[in-house]
């Protein structure tokens, strides 16, 4: 059984200008010890999914579908059960560690808070456990007495990871965990996340726009465009042999150094990712698609089988399969 299972998730924000669909029918599963990467650009709905999983969306957002965490539907939970599941069932490493920590509270107190609130131990033991967690993420326990401003960006992100581990969750959701960090520090943080995930058998949902990071850390990848998954499969093949033209364009933004195909020849897509309030008809990618044809503006593609464990939402995929047989 999968640890986290999202079924037909739809999220619509109510705005003054009317309802805005941010997530338009997304399904995925994450098994124990598996890392799923969710990639996409700004406005594609990936952060909305994070918030929907733990029901952190603002009032006025309409959610439908199912989010099963260890078999239990999060969307139908009552307040008390929901509070218990947050942080013990699934926890989040938020983006922008610089702003996610309370600047006027010591690191130790912030780490202990979640432990005490979930009544996992009394305050004194909670601080001891917080010290252990800091060691786990590669910081000396004396840092418990530090305030956030005394730490560097990478150290703060380590604290955020320790915080996500406080209540021993089964799933960790990492939302752009390395985006604000320097390349060298990014490598350190990715290494740490991988180590912890491996050692503790955690399931992980990893969200970022940086496809090259996802390919490095994830078992499977799901590529999002305009509120939908347009391609999914094992990460290596998705990145190296994309089945969807959007994945191909996204992969080209992260060129392999030394590959003569990319030397002095930047490639990108014309146009911009669509705003959620004006999603194009048919295949929502068709206005930017280099291989679009007459059917694309009118037909909404399903996720078609595109090889072993691979699916892609492009009308060309079933056509190619037909030609092959």
């Amino acid at each position: 059984m999968s640890i986290l299972s999202v079924r037909d998730l739809e999220v619509t924000y109510a705005t003054q200008a009317g309802p805005v669909p941010a997530v338009r029918g997304v399904s995925f599963d994450i098994d124990k010890g598996e890392v799923l990467g969710l990639a996409g650009e700004s406005g594609c709905g990936k952060s909305t999914i994070v918030n929907a999983i733990l029901r952190l969306l603002p009032a006025g957002a309409i959610t439908s579908g199912e989010v099963l965490l260890n078999g239990e539907d999060v969307l139908g939970m009552k307040g008390g059960r929901l509070r218990a599941v947050r942080w013990t069932g699934a926890s989040v490493v938020f983006q922008g560690a610089m702003h996610a920590l309370n600047p006027v509270q010591r690191i130790g107190d912030q780490l202990a808070e979640a432990i005490v609130i979930h009544k996992l131990s009394a305050e004194k033991e909670a601080i001891l456990r917080a010290g252990d967690l800091l060691e786990k993420v590669g910081l000396p326990p004396r840092r418990l007495r530090d305030y956030p401003h005394e730490l560097s960006g990478g150290q703060k992100q380590r604290v955020m990871i320790a915080m996500a581990l406080t209540c021993s969750p089964t799933v960790i959701i990492a939302d752009e965990p390395t985006t604000a960090l320097d390349v060298m520090v990014q490598a350190q943080v990715l290494g740490l996340l991988h180590e912890l995930q491996h050692e503790m058998g955690l399931a992980m949902l990893f969200i970022t726009h940086d496809l090259s990071v996802l390919v490095e850390v994830c078992d499977r990848l799901a590529i999002m465009y305009a509120g939908k998954i347009v391609e999914e499969g094992r990460s290596g093949p998705v990145f190296e042999k994309p089945a969807h033209p959007y994945t191909e364009a996204l992969a080209a933004a992260f060129p392999a150094i030394g590959d003569p195909r990319f030397r002095k020849s930047p490639s990108g897509l014309g146009g911009d990712p669509p705003q959620p309030d004006s999603i194009p008809s048919g295949c929502s990618f068709h206005p930017r698609c280099p291989v679009a044809f007459d059917e694309c503006p009118t037909t909404i593609p399903d996720l078609y089988e595109a090889g072993e464990g691979r699916r892609a939402a492009c009308l060309l995929v079933p056509q190619r399969a037909q030609v092959a047989t």
Binding site: D182, A187, G191, L250, K264, P266, G268
Partner: protein
């Protein structure tokens, strides 16, 4: 400074538009009142600590390094936005003066494109006003027989905003990120600069949009011979657009050369480490430098990279007999391959031992 330190010679072209010689820029730190009374001195941050650099006509040079390495300070100093403590900047062969008139002319011919177009554009100015502002500041009312409006239209069209009239009365919030960056580029282009300094020109843009902006920048070089200094932390970007790559560490260029050589056959251990951490499939578990980005208020003795250098840590420097030099002797760039320079005792020793059997 050791005898090995010598200035880097001219770029592959004989016709440099910009030369930087022995540039030093530092910022004074602050001390608290109590510490000041107690006689404690403010620590000085040596952000740029001896940089020699040339930029050829129509050349694209990428300046790479971690945050805090001084790459943005170097770019700002070249723009005349910071005053160097020491050293010289020469533009078209002439040393850059300090008078307002000379600086104003210089700033017309050297334009900057900032990282975040949303912050760079005035939200209450129309696109036309934003692009025309540079012309007005420099008192350009007509050029090449073209009126202000024609010049603005040409710059917008050259930046890929067509038809230009459609954008005249539009405000920045009505445009996408990629279009805003095109407006910023048009604002630079309208003054017909010789050099564009681009500070992380695509890092705030969506991944699928970046390629088009880079294509635009490369096109400007090809069509108008504009030289570009592209400041970036992204070596993949350097591979995509740069002719030469300079790698900065703690205020100094530690390696410079043709992009192919620096990125595929790096000589300096720091460049090697930077290339190791470029994410890629199956890259987990590769070596990376531990510790934090270094502190420019405390530049180590000897080779400034030695406390983090994997070659020193692994004993490779010791077995080559250069470790005492690494720890005690500061060095400048040494030409190790034609046009390819690195500031590394170990690489220099390897080159010397190569030469001995040859003659």
């Amino acid at each position: 400074m050791s005898e090995a330190a010598r200035p880097e010679p001219a770029a592959p072209t004989d016709d440099p538009v910009l030369e930087v010689r022995g540039l030093h820029v530092s910022f004074a730190g602050r001390v608290g009142l109590g510490a000041g009374v107690a006689g404690k001195k403010a620590s000085v941050s040596r952000a740029v600590d001896g940089v020699d650099l040339t930029l050829g006509r129509g050349e694209v040079l990428a300046l790479a390094g971690e945050s805090g390495c001084g790459k943005t300070t170097l770019a700002r100093t070249i723009m005349g936005l910071e005053a160097p403590k020491q050293g010289e900047i020469r533009f078209m062969g002439e040393p850059l003066g300090t008078s307002t008139k000379i600086l104003r002319e210089y700033r017309r011919r050297v334009q900057i494109v900032f990282q975040d177009p949303t912050a760079a554009l005035n939200p209450r100015q129309t696109i036309y006003e934003s692009v025309a502002e540079g012309l007005r500041i420099h008192g350009v009312t007509s050029q090449d027989g073209m009126s202000e409006e024609q010049l603005v239209a040409r710059a917008l069209a050259r930046s890929g905003l067509r038809p230009p009239e459609r954008f005249y009365l539009v405000y920045p919030h009505e445009l996408s990120g990629g279009q805003r960056q095109r407006v910023v580029i048009a604002g630079a282009l309208v003054l017909e600069p010789e050099i564009i300094v681009a500070d992380e020109p695509v890092s705030s843009l969506d991944a699928s949009v970046r390629g088009e902006i880079l294509k635009l920048l490369l096109g400007l070089r090809d069509d108008f011979g504009i030289a570009m200094l592209v400041v970036t932390h992204d070596l993949g970007l350097a591979w995509t657009i740069a002719d030469r790559v300079a790698v900065m560490y703690l205020g100094r260029i530690v390696e410079i050369g043709p992009a192919e050589d620096v990125l595929t056959k790096p000589l300096h251990p720091y460049t090697k480490a930077l290339l190791e951490v470029v994410p890629e499939a199956g890259g987990l578990g590769r070596p990376y430098l531990s510790g934090e980005p270094p502190d420019p208020t405390r530049i180590p003795e000897g080779c400034r990279f030695h406390p983090r250098c994997p070659e020193v840590a692994s004993g490779a420097a010791a077995s080559a007999g250069v470790e005492p030099k690494c720890l005690g002797e500061d060095l400048g760039l040494i030409e190790l391959q034609p046009g390819h320079f690195a500031a590394c005792h170990l690489a220099a020793a390897a080159k010397r031992s190569d030469k001995v059997p040859a003659g």
